[in-house]
């Protein structure tokens, strides 16, 4: 009797722990169309990625991806509602269907992609760990950091990456750990350490907090891979495709020179078959995605191409002033590459 009871409990626990993923064949798009908006999970506040401006409008690169999805599905980028999620609740929110898309600076890893019933649809931002140093010490490359004292936030993977990097390059360092990222900034400013290490996207935000940002530079080296991308539930390929191709459409648009300003005109006048296919002037490529013919046109018109989105939120058009770097298009030395629409 006792054994039976134990088995029962074990089964219940297993069902909970395994999060018992039911099959959701093609239901998300129908549900989204029915309720009339895309429910999108974003961060509870990360400079440049998702934050709210003075008017209470959501802004940021993660937010724009969701607007893009809404533009593709409804032809109206404003038909999206945002759920701010903490790092801990984000995956549950996708698994339980509370949000349709999770666009929350989430690193694409094998365990998350394969082990949690989630699917990453692409990479919105290639992030990676970098170094912020004072210009006073005259270092131009991370390879010259032998013997440096490094400010670091404790309990993060950045600590492990740092150890690996210095060991691989036969260098020594003194770690100075703090609990909060704001404390590391203060420490760097006070000269308690020579270098601050964190994800590159964070370093630029931290640099603004320094008294005189111009006295500090972000070194070019990136020592870890942190591809950030949107996440959907596993098992609904139809919805997965829509989210994936939203991003691809933005990257393709940049490659083809289409911007929010010229896209409508180009849709009418362009003779370039790639442009015509992407914007729905030729062929029925929207149909394959179960979307309207002009899905990509609406994305670019209302949200912009990838480059516009990047510059506006984190690039030169923003306070962060992050260089394109790895996030440049593939044909100018970056990693952003999208398969063609045809």
């Amino acid at each position: 009797m006792k054994a039976a009871k134990t088995t029962l409990i074990a089964a219940a626990v297993a069902a909970t722990a395994g999060l018992s993923l039911p099959a959701h064949a093609g239901t998300t798009l129908d549900a989204v169309l029915k309720k009339g908006f895309v429910q999108c999970g974003v961060s509870d506040g990360l400079p440049g990625f998702s934050y709210t401006d003075e008017k209470g409008q959501y802004k940021g690169i993660d937010v724009d991806v969701c607007r893009g999805v809404a533009a593709a599905v409804f032809g109206d980028a404003s038909k999206v509602r945002f759920s701010p999620l903490t790092a801990k609740e984000r995956f549950t929110a996708v698994q339980s269907g509370e949000v349709d898309v999770l666009s929350r600076n989430t690193t694409w890893t094998s365990s998350r992609d394969a082990g949690m019933g989630l699917s990453f649809t692409g990479v919105t931002y290639y992030d990676g760990q970098g170094f912020l140093v004072s210009t006073k010490i005259g270092v131009k490359s991370a390879k010259e950091l032998d013997g440096a004292s490094v400010c670091i936030q404790s309990g993060t993977t950045t600590e492990l990456n740092l150890t690996d990097y210095f060991r691989a390059n036969g260098m020594k360092y003194t770690p100075i750990t703090y609990d909060k990222s704001d404390e590391t900034v203060k420490a760097l400013e006070a000269g308690r350490c020579d270098v601050l290490t964190s994800d590159q996207s964070q370093l630029y935000a931290q640099r603004i907090k320094l008294g005189n940002p111009a006295d500090f530079i972000v070194l070019p080296e990136v020592i870890s891979k942190e591809p950030l991308g949107p996440v959907v539930r596993q098992g609904d390929d139809e919805w997965f495709n829509i989210v994936r191709w939203t991003l691809f459409a933005m990257v393709n648009a940049e490659e083809l020179g289409l911007t929010s300003g010229n896209v409508e005109e180009q849709a009418k006048t362009s003779a370039n078959p790639d442009v015509r296919r992407l914007l729905g002037a030729e062929g029925e490529y929207g149909k394959d995605l179960k979307l309207q013919k002009d899905w990509a046109l609406q994305i670019v018109k209302q949200v912009g191409n990838y480059g516009e989105m990047f510059e506006r939120n984190v690039g030169m058009g923003s306070e962060l002033k992050i260089a394109r770097g790895q996030n440049a298009l593939w044909n100018v030395g970056g990693l952003q590459y999208a398969p063609p629409v045809r």
Binding site: D44, E54, S83, L85, T86, K88, T92, G97, K209, E319
Partner: protein, 365 residues
Amino acid sequence: MTTHTFKPSLPPPPMSVGPAAWIRANLFSNWFNSLLTFLAIYLIWILIPPVIKWAFIDADWNGTSRDACTSGGACWVFIKVRFSQFMYGFYPEHLRWRVDLTVLLAIAGSIPLFLKAMPKKLPYGLAFGLIYPIVAWVLLFGGMFGLAEVQTSQWGGLMLTLVIATVGIGGAMPLGILLALGRRSHMPAVRVICVTFIEFWRGVPLITVLFMSSVMLPLFLPEQMSFDKLLRALIAVMLFEAAYIAEVVRGGLQAIPKGQYEAAGAMGLGYWRMMGLVILPQALKLVIPGIVNTFIALFKDTSLVIIIGLFDLFNSIHQATVDPAWLGYATEGYVFAALVFWIFCFGMSRYSMHIERKLDRGHKR
């Protein structure tokens, strides 16, 4: 005939009256106290002037962007620009009058309760307590009587903090009293249920309760069925605080001598009338400090809803500090949050002292 006139009395020695005497008696009565005084003066000297310099003298007050903050002190422009967001969250700007009206109604409706001459206070109070929440809900959420619907995800700022705190307080108080009575009941089933409830909710941290409500609960519910996040938080806070209130009230019940119960029984009062007319009025009066203490703790605990991504006052401020346009002004934001929380908590504590004095009957020391 000579009239005798008294000489005017001499003034007391200068060191025994006036400020000098006070200083001597209170600050320099022996070498150890003198040492402490100097230490305190030194601490004030090194701490206060920089704070004043930062917060007032060097502060920037005017402007609309971070470019206005050049003098090196506090940048109150940041608070000014974001102020309405700190108060209302994302509540649509053209509908904010509804929030104001809700607050005004609360104030106007509770004025009669403070008037001495008001007759039939109890029925009025009960009616107000039952009707007001419904009116407030209709006003804030809308969706009926031609009012546009405002999703709870758009609620935020101080408004959300107050909603959580008032619902928590309003719900926890009656529930807590019932639980306290239940725990002292002679009926085993009622007692066991109440004890289990109280011990369960007191045994887990609020943060865990909130976390469970937002992370585990959705997994057990069927697909696409999602409870409102705010509702989950409200229920969690209410049940949690009810358990604490129950124990505070039980302390009061235990302080009432057995003779009071017996006397009430001898008068022929049944259980509910005995409790309502004799025991509870005395017991609750005794535990006012404990109850208010719990409420102040609850008010401050509301900021824990940051765990489940609700934008209360604290989280709204945190959110504003990550706007790239205002990075680096977190200190100003947190100082502002502290000030607002302090005003409310201090208000509650003064009010409780007032009530204690007003209701004091014969226990005065």
